[in-house]
């Protein structure tokens, strides 16, 4: 490994990733405003051929229309918001849960407490980490099925499913890190000086975890986008009246051979978004790999 860290990883990709992520955020914020038409409006005459098939790109509809005669471009733009919202919200939720569970389990361990002479082992670490293992084995689609049986499909439900299934990786990674730092000399030194456990965790341990958490936050967004579109594809995602890329792919599947455009466009948008978040994760990983503080 070259001694000069700055040459080791070109920063061009980081710029691309950050620019891409900002662009996506902008799209999520402004997408519906940029849409030339109401994404839900079916153009019964103008939007379908005489035989009832979607129109190709060109003319009044820049990217053509979908099988119901709605403007494809408007739907792509409107679909960006739920996809990206779920990416951000779901990944933040998952990371927050994972961080708390992993840090508490790794730092507290299974402490012995004194109950008026009786010493009791409190299984904090065991309980939290075994729970994590249970969730690790939980198939996200099954969880989604169970939740949709109780609740109506909604954005919140999708967020919940994404958050509840993606947090386990973060918890495992954070737990490993914190666990190995718990007995590090500088942590023991802090303890010996009388610093309370909360402050030790916050000021001395967590800063060493923050970089890796950022990496997982970015990668979680990519996973969340994919999971959200899978749920929508299966009809477990957003209610049918709303649009997102996953449900656009699902609706276009019967037409995949007749008019591949209908699958390629939302699929391409999905791919670019996932790629951007993966690059963002990579970019965040750069400093971690170099051990920068």
């Amino acid at each position: 490994m070259p001694a000069d860290g700055r040459r080791e990883r070109p920063s061009r990709w980081r710029r691309v990733a950050v620019a891409g992520a900002l662009g996506l955020l902008g799209l999520a914020a402004a997408g519906p405003l940029l849409a030339p038409y109401d994404p839900a409006h079916a153009f019964r005459d103008a939007g379908l051929s005489a035989a009832g098939y979607p129109l190709g790109p060109g003319g009044a509809f820049l990217l053509g229309t979908d099988p119901a005669g709605r403007d494809e471009l408007s739907r792509l733009l409107a679909g960006a918001r739920p996809s990206i919202l779920v990416a951000l919200g779901g990944s933040l939720l998952a990371t927050a849960i994972g961080l708390i569970v992993g840090a508490v389990a790794g730092f507290a361990g299974d402490p012995l407490i004194d109950l008026g002479g009786r010493r009791l082992r409190l299984p904090v670490e065991s309980l939290l980490m075994r729970t994590t293992d249970v969730f690790l084995g939980l198939p996200p689609l099954l969880l989604a099925l169970a939740l949709t049986a109780v609740l109506r499909p909604s954005l919140l439900l999708v967020l919940l499913v994404v958050g509840l299934t993606l947090w386990t990786t973060v918890a495992r990674v954070v737990y490993g890190r914190v666990h190995s730092l718990r007995d590090a000399p500088f942590v023991e030194a802090a303890r010996a000086l009388g610093v309370g456990p909360g402050r030790v965790l916050w000021r001395h341990v967590l800063p060493h975890v923050s970089a890796i958490v950022l990496v997982y936050l970015a990668l979680g967004m990519a996973a969340a986008v994919l999971l959200e579109s899978s749920l929508s594809f299966l009809g477990l995602g957003l209610p049918p009246a709303e649009v997102d890329w996953g449900s656009m792919i699902a609706e276009a599947t019967p037409f995949a051979l007749v008019d591949p455009r209908l699958v390629v466009l939302p699929g391409g948008a999905l791919m670019v978004t996932v790629l951007t978040f993966v690059l963002l994760g990579d970019a965040a990983a750069g400093p971690v790999a170099r051990g920068r503080r």
Partner: protein, 565 residues
């Protein structure tokens, strides 16, 4: 549906497959000998060619076989398979005329219409799956087979539709109640002569005897365990079951002891399951599959029918099916749907021509309940034409000038969600805000059966070509109970029930059909449905398939098909 294997939950008569809009299924009954627009028969150029024997025919369905036991297998995959293994006393010709099968001739019917006497064919053997002969068919097998069908102890469970179709046979009640296992109304008069006594005249009796439910089986082999019998079926039909792997395929081979030794046809029939319509279409185009069990997917319809390569391989029929928007006529207190003016407003808000456009013109707009090829069809019946302005006035008169909110249920198979979306937009135009919920087919049926769907996008395919099959299961008080999915409007009117009971018993003829038209008119006056579309059924058949026509009742009639060599 994967759908085509419709779950059996109803108490009353259910269509085979029925349902759902998707429905795809089904058939058309052309009552007239040469219905307009029906049926290209495959291999039309070879019409008149002599059928040949040999080869392996393949057909693929999305849904699996519900059961190969004819007492309970009741869906569009099971029926074609059952008809390879078993025979009935009578059957349909290429159209909807009843002809003898195991019966030597058509039965003699008593003047009061309550007694039918059959003479059975000689030389019919029951054959085991391994090709060995069990024993010859006897008249007693007819009585035993029908008694078995009505047996409440059938495992895992009898099909309620099966029982319902044959409830008019004298003594059926006692067998259904489990007090006896002998069906008093089927009398053995000799080794090959059997008589049916009916509790009341029934114009549809020969039609129900032609259904696979009434297949004649050797009762001592069939027993009460339908799972065991389905695994080793013993019948008198033209094929034997060589193997069946759940979720994959059933393989049928020719029955060397079949009673009609001159019958031509493939040596082997491979029935594959779990193949979706899109995949099946590609396989037929590539020549690796002979027949698609399910209809041509709506989305691919335009491309395939316009392709000159397939011009001779596309087979079309008008279905005897009605697709409709059901409206709950017994909604919870306070629901706007309780008001007939609201239901009429919804009926007048639906732009059927646009829905036909969405399905690329496959079918015609429906004005009333009976489809064009059903006896009793009334072309002048169209009480609620599209008129959104009138619909808004009706809503206002009913006290909902600003509309209301409700929920529309549909299944998830294309094109149903797209049609539901069009209905939502139509109703939004008159101020009715509709939440569309698309559910997997089984879940959707359960929602309807639980009486939880204010609006449901649905379809009904005939079991047999008689208007009673579009009234009794769909609009009777008996079918309007929780647990039954065949009457999604939960329509119940005792006066109409009485008219329907009378019409069902009437002798066939113009007077009976006029009565059914009147029943249809009176039901439509209460607007339980918005009839939307009488669909067409299209399929693509392989280039070497001969003799295939979509059958009005069977849809896929594997008994008539042969392969060009």
């Amino acid at each position: 549906m994967d759908r085509w294997t419709a779950p059996r939950t109803g108490r009353s008569r259910r269509p085979l497959a029925l349902l759902a809009a998707s429905l795809a299924l089904a058939a058309c009954g052309s009552a007239s000998p040469t219905p307009a627009g029906s049926a290209a028969t495959s291999g039309a150029a070879e019409a008149g060619a002599t059928p040949t024997t040999g080869g392996t025919l393949s057909i693929a369905f999305q849904g699996d076989i519900g059961s190969l036991d004819p007492a309970i297998g009741y869906d569009t995959v099971s029926w074609p398979a059952e008809r390879l293994l078993f025979d009935t006393l009578v059957t349909y010709d290429a159209g909807t005329r009843i002809v003898p099968l195991l019966a030597r001739t058509m039965p003699t019917v008593s003047a009061d219409g309550r007694t039918y006497t059959f003479d059975l064919r000689d030389g019919v053997d029951f054959v085991r799956p391994d090709g060995s002969v069990l024993r010859p068919l006897r008249a007693a097998d007819v009585a035993a087979s029908l008694a078995r069908l009505l047996d409440p102890k059938l495992k895992p469970a009898p099909d309620p539709a099966g029982a319902d179709f044959y409830a008019d046979i004298e003594g059926a009640d006692a067998v259904l109640a489990g007090t006896t296992s002998t069906l008093a109304g089927v009398k053995v008069l000799g080794p090959t002569r059997v008589e049916f006594d009916l509790a009341r005249p029934d114009a549809t009796f020969l039609q129900v005897l032609a259904l696979p439910f009434a297949s004649i089986v050797p009762a001592e082999v069939a027993g009460e365990d339908t799972t065991a019998f389905a695994a080793h079926p013993v019948g008198s039909g033209p094929y034997l079951l060589r193997s069946y792997t759940k979720g994959q395929a059933a393989v049928f081979i020719r029955n060397p002891h079949f009673w009609d030794a001159s019958r031509a046809g493939p040596d082997e029939i491979d029935l594959r399951v779990g193949v979706d319509g899109q995949a099946a279409l590609q396989q037929v185009e590539a020549g690796s599959l002979d027949l698609m069990g399910d209809p041509l997917p709506a989305a691919a319809f335009g491309a395939v029918t316009a392709d000159p390569r397939f011009a001779r391989q596309v087979v079309r029929r008008t279905l005897v099916e009605t697709q409709y928007l059901a409206m709950d006529t017994q909604p919870p207190a306070g629901s706007p749907l309780a008001d007939v003016r609201v239901r009429q407003a919804i009926a007048q808000a639906v732009d059927k021509s646009y829905i036909l456009k969405l399905v690329h013109g496959a079918g015609v707009a429906a004005g009333c309940i009976f489809p064009p090829d059903l006896p009793g069809y009334d072309p002048s019946c169209d009480p609620y034409p599209y008129d959104p302005a009138a619909a808004r006035r009706l809503l206002a008169a009913a006290g909902y000038p600003n509309g209301f909110s409700t929920t529309l249920y549909t299944d998830t198979d294309d094109p149903d969600p797209r049609i539901a979306g069009a209905l939502r937009d139509d109703l939004a135009a008159i101020g009715v805000r509709v939440d569309v919920v698309a559910q997997a087919f089984d879940t959707y049926l359960a929602t309807i059966a639980a009486h939880k769907a204010p609006l449901a996008w649905n379809g009904w395919v005939q079991d047999f070509p008689d208007p009673s099959d579009f009234i009794d299961p769909l609009f009777s008080c008996a079918s309007a109970g929780v647990g039954n999915s065949s009457n999604p409007a939960f329509f119940c009117d005792h006066a109409i029930d009485a008219l329907a009971a009378r019409a069902r018993a009437e002798p066939d003829g113009p007077a009976r059909l006029a009565d059914y038209r009147e029943i249809q008119r009176r039901i439509m006056a209460q607007v339980p449905w918005v009839p939307v579309r009488f669909p067409d059924y299209y399929t693509l058949v392989g280039s070497r398939v001969r003799g295939f026509a979509l059958h009005p009742v069977w849809i896929d009639d594997l008994r008539s098909v042969w392969l060009a060599t």
